[in-house]
């Protein structure tokens, strides 16, 4: 950055708006599955694009802390972040917003309006389409694991029902780890039928494939990405999240298998 053309200093209340908006954008990114590097860069671009000289950012697992400075003035604020599901539409929208701000196409008030709209946007896909497609995705995995057609059918049924239950439980704000255990249990109960009724020569493929909708792929990939880029605390926290979710899947699945007396995996 060149300092030949210093930015006009922002008033105290303007700094307040900048910090609010950049924190809000950062919170949305972190909650919906962006890696730490992207969160920090986006906050930085947004804040400096809105007129402050510099931004310091601390992204940690449950909170974002930001200090904005302009001329002699500075302000610091923190914002709590809770874990949400992965929503890459939101990540795209916020990214696009920061790009437009950097290009000088938006002022503070327009940014506030745009962020509120992103927040209100419903999911892009109908929930039943999601249920069917997630069921199909898990069934597709059973094909990749060399399962036969009966396994394909049972996996589809188990994963689709599991996805439906997951939507229902999440909507009622159950603890996310509890949701994973229950959903894995239900998927396991349905998928066990392949073994119970000897519907297939490779019945255990159904058990493994049916719970894949729960695999914490995004936390695990982000954990490795964070560690690689030096965000150690975030990487460790996300890795532990991934471990706990994997443990919850194993618990639910084992519970279903013990209950029905299905063995071997």
């Amino acid at each position: 950055m060149t300092h030949n053309h210093p930015k006009p200093p922002l008033a105290y209340n303007e700094l307040r708006d900048v910090i609010d908006l950049s924190l809000w954008a950062g919170q949305m990114l972190l909650q919906h599955g962006a890696a730490s590097q992207r969160v920090e860069e986006t906050i930085h671009h947004l804040g400096t694009g809105l007129g402050c000289d510099w931004i310091d950012i601390l992204v940690s697992p449950n909170v974002i802390i930001v200090t904005t400075s302009s001329g002699q003035e500075f302000r610091t604020k923190l914002r709590r972040v809770v874990r949400f599901g992965v929503n890459l539409w939101v990540v795209t929208a916020v990214n696009d917003l920061s790009r437009r701000v950097t290009a000088g196409q938006m002022d503070r008030h327009q940014v506030r309006q745009a962020l509120a709209e992103i927040d209100q946007e419903p999911l892009q896909y109908n929930r039943w389409l999601t249920v069917v497609m997630v069921g199909l995705a898990c069934a597709a995995f059973s094909r990749l694991f060399a399962g036969d057609w009966p396994v394909f059918g049972i996996t589809f049924l188990a994963a689709a029902v599991a996805m439906f239950v997951r939507q229902e439980l999440s909507r009622r704000h159950f603890n996310p780890n509890l949701v994973v255990i229950i959903v894995a249990f239900i998927a396991g109960l349905i998928a066990s039928n392949a073994a119970l009724f000897r519907l297939s020569l490779t019945p255990n493929t159904a058990l493994i494939s049916a719970v894949l909708l729960l695999v914490p792929g995004v936390p695990l990939i982000n954990a490795a990405d964070d560690l690689l880029k030096g965000h150690l605390i975030m990487g460790i926290a996300r890795g532990v999240t991934g471990l706990i979710v994997s443990l919850a899947i194993a618990l639910g699945l084992l519970l279903a298998m013990r209950l029905l007396g299905v063995s071997g995996l």
Binding site: A35, V86, L129, C138, A140, V211, S246, L251, L254
Partner: protein, 155 residues
């Protein structure tokens, strides 16, 4: 490995990537690209595994392909690269290894001593494999940025 087996792998991994793309609420006009990403990474890895590469190296190569293809698509769509790399990486995520590790650890509590050693070895192997495959996946996806888009850090 026959051509029809390869095509089947490509098709089913595309379906898997598509399902997860919808679960992750991907912008609608990028859906076909996400399916393509899933098929590319998984099929490339399957070919390399078939040639005798280890799963870690094969994953690294597949993920690097995803990283570069994702960077191209991100430029074409003017969208962040994660939109393409995350669904593309999903078929490569060692999910089965991860919860096999956990199942092994849970089983340690109710076995006799003789089986314990076997289960512990298996759980440890699965755990290490999970970590290595994930590291390969993340490094491969980040490869274009790590190699060609180096900048002085802004934050």
């Amino acid at each position: 490995m026959t051509v029809s087996a390869l095509l089947a792998d490509a098709f089913w991994s595309a379906v898997a990537a598509l399902g997860f793309a919808i679960l992750f609420n991907i912008p609608k006009r990028t859906l076909w690209a996400c399916a393509l990403m899933g098929a590319t990474g998984y099929t490339l890895r399957a070919v390399l595994l078939n040639l005798g590469l280890t799963i870690e190296l094969a994953t690294l190569t597949g993920a690097t392909a995803i990283g570069f293809l994702g960077a191209l698509l991100a430029r074409r769509f003017h969208m962040p690269v994660v939109i393409f790399t995350i669904p593309g990486a999903i078929p490569l995520v060692p999910g089965t290894f991860a919860f096999r590790t956990m199942i092994g650890i849970l089983q340690l509590t109710n076995q006799n001593l003789l089986d314990d050693a076997l289960i512990l070895t298996e759980a440890t192997t699965n755990g290490i494999k999970t970590g290595l495959i994930l590291a390969a996946l993340a490094a491969g996806i980040a490869a274009p940025k790590l190699l060609f888009q180096r900048r002085k850090p802004v934050v």
